[in-house]
Point group: C2
Chain length 256, copies 2
């Protein structure tokens, strides 16, 4: 793994599947990918969800890979006819798919089953691609250019991610700290928060309100790449909030 | 509400917020919006998640509103400095924001608080827009053109949705049925599923595998707008799977 630098490294996530857009399935892959890449200092800068339609996948992939350092796709690499991600990735890179001999051998050895047409679909990778290990179940994913193509099933996707991180050119890791305000609404917090934010243009300060059985308030998240500045800004924000009459302010572990 | 027709009506969802892209917050609004619009026969055809950056929101909004019948945005309409969605929507429509007198009056009456600058931010709507009721808490959302701008907090967003549905030009409602296969992998299912799908080009047939403590298998979801065709295709699919030697096949209520 390369050591961190001051440069910002970006990624986009492309979620592929009618089941996400219909609301049938709750996506969790974006969150998991974002957290994982964050530990490598790579920021997810955009995410898109597209249906299982060839032209839509190709268009989104080409838009995203031109703009961001990396693209991670999830979904559509199974054996059924609606799994068309590999075809779309190959089309986006103007290349062909071929049956990778290592995958065919692995499937035969591991599964001990006849490789019917459906199963052979899962052995297809784009010419010029490399495999991404699948430590969980089933065939591997692949990477080509700056695009990683992973499974959609969350447990498998997370397993494949472990073979993505070490290949990334990493950026400076972002440090996040959370200041929690209880019993005050955003209306009371906004002005002091903005004043502090204006003094630290290299940082990101966000307010994420909560309310429910446990009361109401807001988690104020401070992000930056300079550890000393982040440390100082946490103290500054707490001081400015208290000076503005906001009570019950304290730093907490990141909210779940 | 208009009665259903055979025309396809589409929507895009634009999720706005650094907290989603950082992985700090798990979005659930896409799923809730998709399910809600589905009951009106409106298909979510694409979703994007963008950061709290003015130019990014404007660009995504203009791309999506030109292409789909409706756009639903969530997030970034609170009172803090990072809440810039209203500004971006106004910019996309080349109009201005103004403080809506009804919202100012409501905030004063309901909250009984001084309307400081932060709270007044939440009264801003684009010139030419209409309000979207908020039955939960806080100020309303708004619509302008074919864009609905809703809160990001899920409970508030769902409340606002109730004032979106009745304004939609509705399409034909999609009927979804689920056939569950237990103990067979997708490799065994793919060929019969594809054969049935080919015979019903107006329908969408997808395979969503599962595995875990309860065993493994796949949920096969059949979607269509013609009730009789959907009914017949469920029976056809079950018959074709059984003829192919796939056991433990039955129709189930939609999987959660």
């Amino acid at each position: 793994m390369a050591s961190g630098s001051e440069e910002r490294v970006t990624a986009a996530v492309l979620i592929i599947g009618d089941e996400i857009l219909s609301g049938r399935t709750q996506d969790t892959n974006l969150r998991d990918i974002a957290r994982y890449l964050g530990t490598f200092g790579v920021d997810v800068a955009e995410a898109r969800t597209v249906p299982d339609v060839h032209e839509e996948i190709v268009a989104a992939l080409n838009a995203l890979r031109a703009r961001y350092d990396y693209v991670i796709t999830t979904g559509g690499i199974g054996p059924t006819h609606d799994d068309i991600t590999a075809d779309a990735v190959a089309a986006a890179f103007d290349t062909e798919l071929y049956e990778h001999p290592d995958i065919l051998a692995m499937m035969t050895a591991r599964w001990g089953v006849e490789l019917n047409a459906a199963r052979r679909r899962m052995a297809r990778v784009p010419v010029g691609g490399e495999l991404v290990k699948n430590p969980v179940q089933g065939p591997p994913g692949f990477m080509i250019g700056n695009v990683f193509t992973l499974a959609g099933v969350p447990a498998i996707m997370r397993g494949m991610l472990e073979d993505v991180g070490p290949r990334l050119r990493t950026g400076a890791v972002t440090i996040a700290r959370t200041v929690r305000v209880e019993g005050s609404g955003e209306g009371a917090i906004a002005a002091p928060l903005e004043a502090v934010a204006k003094g630290h243009p290299a940082m990101s300060l966000g307010s994420y309100p909560f309310y429910g059985e446990g009361g109401f308030g807001s988690n104020l998240v401070l992000r930056g790449r300079d550890a000393a500045e982040v440390e100082a800004t946490v103290a500054e924000l707490i001081g400015v909030l208290k000076a503005a009459g906001v009570e019950n302010v304290r730093e907490v572990e990141a909210a779940s």
